[in-house]
Subunit: 271 residues, 2 copies
């Protein structure tokens, strides 16, 4: 690409992201952000009050593969200028889940009326970023090709607990030929802020998964006879830890309906 | 390590290598070089006459994963100063195989009487280098721990032919837990001159291997119930291509009995 083409590529993405966030802010877009503004990093969202935030921050630091922290706000600050200058976390996620004492009580498109000066926002990296990198490397992502959500499973891989936050790792699964699985490991190793390399490969039984056809979250995706399943840590892991910790209030995104940022995936890649 | 410790680490390795080559040159050492001068690159050797060398060079260029070329001499030149200033390829390999018309006819410890001004030496990278890197990364290599040669198999993965040189890829197999297999892929990706990343993982049947317990070359190495087999391209691949090409004369090392160079493995690593 010429310098001009690169600059126009990024500007086009930023324009797409800004337009999308405006629609989301206006309540006009409430669907999954999968495949939208592809090339820009999307984020998992966790909002807690300050008295719970330090424990959760420590949980993220102890479990950087499932909880790769890309931003954290000061208490009460709804803007995230480091991820996009117009981002307001109270309105810029297509749909929010409200957890009260660890239980999902409500889904909504705006949280302005819940916001207060104690609220701390965490933005965690998302596998949508590495799916884009895999596709650019020429690999086919089965769930995308089938128009389905990725398969997610409760694994037996324990997270490292921090105070009240604990639980097992939730993993996503994508099937690949063995040669493509090796390439997928190389490509995703570059993206530690989007869960990085897989945590497991080839043998679901060894991480407590009895039946690939019945994921606990998302959709079922077929694994062909000449393929092996490849497992990555998933951003749903913190939601399990939150259910276990039972904070009085916690707000997250609805899985698949992410915050679209202005950061290029490649800006957060290593190597 | 301090600068002094690093310098003394390298000097100690070079002294070990020089002493070993002196013993080999004197015919006092004819065993495998596995685990010796660990940290220095060892090489597979192929010696052909100049009229066959161009085809073989092209074969290496077309198949860089199984045949990673690290040095090539001019015709008739027995020294390889770029790999070690005292190396004389006519005497510095513990044991040589002599192939006549593609058939193994003789094993010997010196080839001075076979040398002539048409001889061209190829040095190809060797998996001993990545085994050292895997061990430094904390991974256990089963065949080393058991004191056995690595298991090698004729796979169904075709090489890209060049004129008379053709054949399938020979692969080595090392068993790992899924998590260690992922780490092994990352570590060996850094070493393309030592076969690099694996070519296959987890499903021997997909590359024409019916029984892991009966390798075509080397020793059998057990795969535990909670492990998956990981396959790398192997430096025996060119020997298969040479058997198929049937050059009037070809000299190789005896598998496992390699040329020990003065190059640090890390000097040939990428990243």
């Amino acid at each position: 690409m010429t310098r001009q083409a690169i600059s126009s590529y990024k500007q086009e993405l930023l324009d797409t992201a800004r337009t999308l966030r405006q629609q989301i802010r206006a309540g006009e877009f409430t669907s999954t952000t999968s495949g939208l503004a592809s090339g820009l990093m999307q984020g998992n969202i966790v909002i807690l009050t300050a008295d719970w935030a330090q424990d959760f921050l420590h949980f993220c630091q102890l479990n950087p593969v499932s909880c790769p922290l890309i931003a954290m706000s000061r208490p009460g600050e709804p803007l995230l200028p480091e991820l996009g200058k117009d981002i307001d976390i109270r309105s810029d996620v297509p749909e929010y889940n409200l957890f009260v004492d660890g239980e999902l009580t409500q889904t909504r498109t705006d949280i302005a009326d819940l916001w207060n000066d104690q609220m701390v926002t965490f933005v965690l990296g998302c596998s949508f970023s590495f799916e884009e990198a895999l596709q650019r490397a020429g690999l086919a992502i089965r769930n995308i090709d089938l128009g389905r959500n990725v398969s997610m499973y409760d694994s037996s891989l324990a997270t490292t607990p921090s105070s009240r936050f604990h639980g097992n790792t939730v993993v996503t699964m994508r099937p690949f030929s063995p040669a493509d699985a090796i390439r997928a490991i190389q490509v995703t190793t570059r993206l530690p802020k989007a869960h990085g390399a897989p945590v497991h490969i080839g043998r679901p039984d060894l991480i407590g998964i009895d039946d690939l056809a019945t994921p606990q979250y998302g959709d079922s995706v077929p694994v062909h006879d000449d393929e092996i399943p490849v497992f990555w840590a998933c951003g749903v892991t913190p939601q399990v830890a939150i259910r276990n910790a039972k904070p009085p209030i916690c707000i997250t995104h609805v899985p698949g309906k992410m915050l679209v940022t202005d950061k290029l995936n490649d800006e957060l890649a290593i190597l």
